[in-house]
Amino acid sequence: ELKVEQNPLFLSMQEGKNYTIYCNYSTTSDRLYWYRQDPGKSLESLFVLLSNGAVKQEGRLMASLDTKARLSTLHITAAVHDLSATYFCAVVPSPYSGGGADGLTFGKGTHLIIQP
């Protein structure tokens, strides 16, 4: 059974600081996704990571993937208040390790609060 673990689950930080969110998963995976969810809202796709060593950046957010370590990171640079949200990583297991087809297995989410 695929397990996805995020840490930290809660993070309060000040504007201007840097921080990293970690996502570990337990079995071989083809693809890893990062999503953002604002309170009471749906999920917004941030990044799709498809191969070992993949790195993607959008504004103050940068995501990377190490498939050998089964680890993805989401790095926040010089945080601003608008980045306050819950961030989820989600994984699709590879076709040969079972799982619900292309259905995503989510981590518990990191609730991020950025204070002025």
Partner: protein, 112 residues
């Protein structure tokens, strides 16, 4: 931008009622999904579909059922709602090589 719609957005009903949550997408995506999310928690896959007349159960057992008669439409039905069904239900669709999933706004269901 993704065009995926869910209705109703909020629903409060009594125990034992039959309900259908609607999900529609205008992107022509073959694959569609239903996830359940409790407040402050992760999402769990409860149903998915690869196309018309295709439906499968997801990783989390659910008493709900789904149908896929048209590509754009993937409704979820609860025959007899119970308080344990109180949750948020999110619909998603995907297509293409990387199967990036786009989510609807969700239906927040409360069963009294």
């Amino acid at each position: 931008e993704a065009d995926i719609y869910q209705t109703p957005r909020y629903l409060v009903i009594g125990t034992g009622k039959k309900i259908t949550l609607e999900c529609s997408q205008t992107m022509g995506h073959d694959k569609m999904y239903w996830y359940q999310q409790d407040p402050g928690m992760e999402l769990h896959l409860i149903h998915y579909s690869y196309g018309v007349n295709s439906t499968e159960k997801g990783d989390l057992s659910s008493e709900s059922t789904v149908s896929r008669i048209r590509t754009e439409h993937f409704p979820l039905t609860l025959e007899s709602a119970r308080p344990s069904h109180t949750s948020q239900y999110l619909c998603a669709s995907s297509a293409g090589r990387y199967n990036e999933q786009f989510f609807g706004p969700g239906t927040r269901l409360t069963v009294l």
